[in-house]
């Protein structure tokens, strides 16, 4: 038992260390480690975890780690697999953040981040465009997408209310639509 839990932590530590970007970027490595090498889940099970990881709150990679950890090592397995996954992030980001803090006055670094901000603007805009393409499927979802944008950008409404409202409105709208059809 103890050995399984140690292995879970170690395997997810490796996954956290060697994937850039989480989410779908992690899928190929997960397949290799969890399905092929360790046999902790079948291919179908892994895809199920992913699907549920997407439709539950939280970060997809974290949710998947909790799933695999739970089925192999119970609650303790879920906790330690997830901690293993985030440990590299904690170490690396804390190192970089404390290093950068000492160099913020460097003019070269300021110019570099001036350029980087444009790149991040473009990358985030493009991600939003891709998300919108899958999320906007009809007129109502289009209007809802615009409304949430306006609510956040211009009215500074808390995202918490937007998420809750989306969940309940979705149920109401589809129920009415279903009743009519």
């Amino acid at each position: 038992m103890l050995q399984i839990i140690w292995q879970l932590m170690y395997t997810f530590f490796k996954l956290g260390l060697f994937t850039f970007g989480g989410g779908y970027a992690m899928l190929p490595l997960l397949q290799r480690e969890v399905v092929e090498s360790k046999g902790w889940a079948t291919e179908e099970e892994l895809l199920d975890y992913y699907a549920i990881g997407q439709s539950t709150p939280g970060i997809i990679a974290v949710n998947t780690a909790s799933f695999v950890g739970y089925f192999q090592g119970g609650i303790l397995g879920a906790i330690l697999a997830t901690i293993g996954l985030v440990l590299p992030s904690i170490i690396i980001i804390l190192l970089i953040a404390s290093l950068l803090n000492h160099f913020t006055d460097l003019v070269v670094l300021q110019h570099a981040f001036g350029g980087i901000r444009v790149a991040v603007s473009a990358l985030v805009s493009f991600s939003v465009y891709r998300l919108a393409k899958t999320g906007v499927v009809d007129t109502f979802t289009f209007i809802w997408c615009i409304m949430t944008f306006v609510a956040i950008a211009f009215f500074k409404i808390s995202p918490l209310w937007v998420v809750l409202a989306s969940f309940f409105m979705g149920n109401i709208v589809l129920k009415i639509k279903g009743a009519r059809a």
């Binding site: 970060i59 904690i90 570099a112 981040f113 350029g115 899958t134 499927v137 289009f142 995202p159 129920k175």
Partner: protein, 189 residues
């Protein structure tokens, strides 16, 4: 001490309500920047760049970074542990009645609008800071010159980047970030 309590509370909330991938934490991080002034929106963009260029899930990297900006090393650790706690609890609960959850009408219907909202939420969170990096409303107000309104080098670079990202979807974001850093240094952004 109060900062740590606030960090834990804010990141528990983010872990519980951020739905739809790493960038979905952005609207919550923006709210923190307004409420506690732990960091500016420009700093948030820098954190995104570093989170995308280092190993690990973006949402986790962002949590560690924001936690560090607010409360040092302990802040970074607490924020990260707080953001994963709701996930662990929810997944352990769901794992015990998985089939029921997947086939639940309530959940499926809820996602009809949640999926549309994700895009709006993220764009809403970064709109202002992107706008400021591409346009200069201050210079326009002083000179009244429409050409002064646009930061030409940034806007051109933005358009070229969008076209490149679209054309080469397999190229990793790090490549675009590093190239833009070099251009930023050469052109003195």
């Amino acid at each position: 001490m109060l900062t740590y309590v606030r960090l834990i509370f804010e990141f528990l909330k983010t872990g519980l309500f951020a739905i739809g991938g790493g960038l979905a934490t952005l609207p919550f991080l923006r709210e923190m920047s307004f409420r506690y002034s732990w960091f500016s929106m420009e700093e948030l963009l820098d954190m995104i760049a570093i989170s995308e260029s280092t190993p690990g899930p973006i949402g986790i990297n962002m949590a560690t970074y924001v936690g560090y900006s607010a409360g040092g090393i302990l802040g970074g650790i607490l924020a990260t542990l707080a953001i994963i706690t709701p996930s662990i609890i929810i997944i352990v609960v769901i794992a015990s009645f998985m089939e029921k959850f997947r086939d639940s009408k309530l959940v499926q219907r809820g996602f009809y609008l949640l999926r549309a909202a994700t895009a709006g939420l993220i764009m809403g969170a970064v709109f202002e800071v992107i706008f400021i990096s591409l346009f200069d409303a201050g210079a326009y107000a002083i000179s009244g010159d429409i050409f002064a309104f646009i930061r030409w080098p940034s806007l051109l670079m933005f358009i070229v980047l969008i076209l490149l990202i679209r054309k080469f979807p397999k190229v990793h974001p790090i490549a675009f970030i590093v190239a833009s850093a070099v251009i930023g240094i050469i052109l003195k952004f």
